[in-house]
Symmetry: C2
Subunit: 482 residues, 2 copies
């Protein structure tokens, strides 16, 4: 017994899978975007106990098609407009195939030099594309959640005199309460990171934002000063370039100045929007980021790279390393300092060869085409916003700086609460068509619909269809309520 | 512009990649296991700036073959005996290909019901295979490092009266110093988890082990009692089933009894060895684990599943959820309690569709064959140990309960220090042949060689070759030193 399939069987099965995927990518439009199964349905079709005997790949694949596929929500569908839309692009898929076959763990330089060096190269390419200066150290992680957690851990380690790495925070009277600041529109991953790191959810200070959902630098400065006066330690500020609800862009230059004055670590969450800085006319979104201490951008969000691929950058790799380097006897190597061992820069010892797909995507598209797709997404969002604005009883409720539109149906005789219900009913109807999938958020306590463009295969026809379905649903819902 | 390749171009490129991988898997024996490049070499062959224009897949693949491949250390090589050997098996590779094409984020049940339900099913299959009782909740993460960190975070949350999630640990006088206990042979990820969680490296108590490198339950009990007497809070014990250096198995039943008496959370690290319990005669390694509170096993280690796939189990999902559930407005769904939203059980919001490969591997092999490969690996390790024992001046330095052998060359006239150097020199020579890759550890301060069997394609010929090369290297090294 060696592998479950011989190389020849693998090749035969592989050709079928490749052809299936080519067809899937061609005909993906014909799948319902949002799965229609009910909870427990997928599992009910599959045996509850593991098989003792081997199955052929055909049998496995047939079960995949029959029982698994109907339970998929198709994130790779061009009508996927929920959350942040993403893309498993062709070069990304092919590179992931190679990554699975090579199956390396790039925990040490030595355990796969090319995985480490290609990652350093690809992340430096990305740095150049978004216009950051040299001197940033990059490492991939699986998610922005982890990238931001590592950044905040580095911020915590910035004060070695507190000896938090060594002595922890509990049971000590000599460690002040530590505070993290972000806007009220920052991503929940910041709160989760503070929870995980033992800082506490209460110590994430959600700074109020302006009318366009951007953190107010003056309020930030006041909050830091007030905490200082109370004997607390301002640990880090998280500015967001592209918030989740509205893609608002915090005023990073002003925030960076506040951080400089108060000597606080600045982490920038550009998980969704950071990559848009490669579009020349959008380059200003990165203003001030070069003054930050750390930054996260997710190529698996808006850069056509299959999940997972989050890019964490810091200008202080020695601090990140001080926070996490720990080399047990069984992982000692003697390669020397010119080689980076990624395991020393985070919690995770295992390190996937994610660089291959990021590198393949940047090469297969080329930066001109990447910028052109991102520009096109923003143009489509702007166009959708004009359709909404031109339609009676519909309104765009937040600026549209990038590729996401927040909007709402607000018929004149409906109370705000009734309009909330109408919008959620419209959303349900639209998503039930299987043609598009949108999600929602809340702004000022009100239910808001979101159209998020980010799939490379999305074109105007898909956006127009979403709008048509929304209008249809609104008229049906309104009739139903009369 | 849509994707970088049309579906037809994808298919053509995909067929070539599949054929290349089939050949790679067939001829993998002909690659040097350990890459021979020097630091910076891979990167020096590649342009330092990103291309503006697109490249064809042929161009990308040609650079991959020419510049990247020589820099890979081949973890999928049957002569890979370092760390813990792993396998990117054929069904696992094909499933990863599908996962990349579907490219879903299973953060919520709704965002891909089948991904969530197949994960619950596959993890329940694995639970059954290793003989654990029902009632364990499973979730995959990317690495055992994260799985163990989440388990310890749950242990911390077990005392809601301390309000650590909400208020954190810093700047408080009402939170005692919290302690985590593991053996001196526990994995470094436990220390890293304690560092990340803000518990502090000093508060990981490394309990001494017996002559066979197993945690001493009496020493554990004493340490917990002593800490209690000092007003500290014993938070969690981490028992290891299959330690990294020697694969020793901590006495979980006795440790579980200590944990019960002291009311302490018990986490079991079975990242490498847990899966071996599916071999009937190895089932006893799981004794006592059903009394634990959490458990990690890594299918991407010894279960032929491509990285990443770590399985975290807990008998208290409500505590794990209490530690991490946080639902922002933009992620509220109305599916109901019967659907599990994985984002509520950890730090990471993004959740790859890892279940597909784990399910495909279990189906393609079937549990009888899985057990038979694991059994065969253990038999090969036992055989290698007899060869070592039978050879003058060589010794097996630790019991061989599973598939890893710790051994050492100890010529009679060499001091322990000189023998250390000889062993490291032997290791270097053997690894430089490119035929096998072994790693080392330290036991009792002495350099020890490790042969770790875990690749599905490894057979007796590879183990025999490793032994032949070790003997050759020893004779060369000894001559060189005379």
């Amino acid at each position: 017994m060696t592998d479950a399939l011989t190389p020849a069987e693998f090749a035969a099965a592989g050709h079928e899978v490749i052809d299936w995927i080519a067809r899937y990518l061609r005909e993906i439009d014909q799948y319902p975007v949002l799965s229609r199964v009910t909870p427990g349905e997928v599992r009910s079709h599959l045996p509850s106990s593991p098989p003792a005997a081997p199955a052929t790949w055909s049998e496995i694949f047939s079960d995949f098609e029959q029982h698994v596929l109907p339970g998929m929500t198709h994130w790779n569908h061009p009508g996927f407009f929920a959350y942040f839309a993403i893309t498993g692009s062709a070069p990304g898929i092919l590179a992931e195939l190679l990554t699975a076959a090579l199956n390396v763990n790039a925990m040490l330089w030595k355990t796969s030099p090319a995985a480490t060096e290609l990652e350093q190269l690809a992340l430096d390419w990305l740095r150049q594309l978004v216009g950051l200066s040299p001197g940033w150290f990059g490492i991939t992680t699986d998610t922005a959640s982890i990238s931001s957690m590592l950044a905040l851990a580095a911020a915590r380690e910035r004060r070695p005199d507190l000896e938090i790495r060594q002595r922890g925070m509990a049971g000590r009277t000599d460690v002040p309460t530590m505070r993290v600041y972000c806007s009220e529109h920052a991503h929940s991953s910041i709160d989760k990171a503070a929870i995980a790191l033992g800082l506490g959810a209460d110590n994430v200070v959600h700074i109020r934002s302006d009318a366009e959902y951007r953190m107010r630098a003056d309020a930030l400065s006041d909050a830091i000063a007030a905490d200082r006066a109370r004997g607390m330690l301002p640990l880090a500020v998280v500015a967001t370039v592209g918030t989740t609800s509205t893609t608002s862009i915090d005023p990073v230059p002003a925030i960076a100045e506040v951080c400089r004055q108060h000597d606080v670590w600045l982490h920038v969450d550009g998980a969704y929007a950071g990559v848009a800085a490669m579009v020349p006319e959008l380059r200003p979104i990165m203003a001030g980021v070069d003054q930050a201490d750390s930054l996260v951008m997710n190529p698996h969000k808006w850069l056509f790279t299959p999940v997972d691929c989050s890019a964490l950058y810091t200008r202080h790799p020695h601090i990140l390393k001080r926070a996490f380097a720990l080399v047990p006897d069984y992982l000692v190597t003697s390669v020397g300092d010119e080689a980076v061992d990624f395991m020393n820069y985070g919690v995770q010892l295992g390190h996937r060869f994610r660089a291959l797909k990021l590198w393949a995507v940047m090469r297969a598209f080329g930066s001109d085409a990447l910028a052109s797709v991102l520009r096109q997404h923003c143009a489509l969002a702007a166009k959708f916003a004009t359709w909404v604005e031109a339609q009676p009883h519909w309104q765009v409720v937040a600026p549209v700086p990038l590729s996401v539109v927040c909007f709402r149906y607000a018929p004149p005789n409906a109370s705000p609460e009734a309009a909330d219900s109408l919008n959620m009913a419209i959303l349900d109807r639209v998503n039930c068509t299987g043609r598009v999938y949108l999600s929602h958020t809340k702004l000022g306590g009100r239910a808001i619909l979101r159209l998020a463009i980010g799939n490379a295969r999305t074109d105007e026809s898909h956006v127009a269809e979403a709008w048509r379905l929304l209008l249809d649903a609104a008229s049906q819902v309104s009739v139903a309520r009369q």
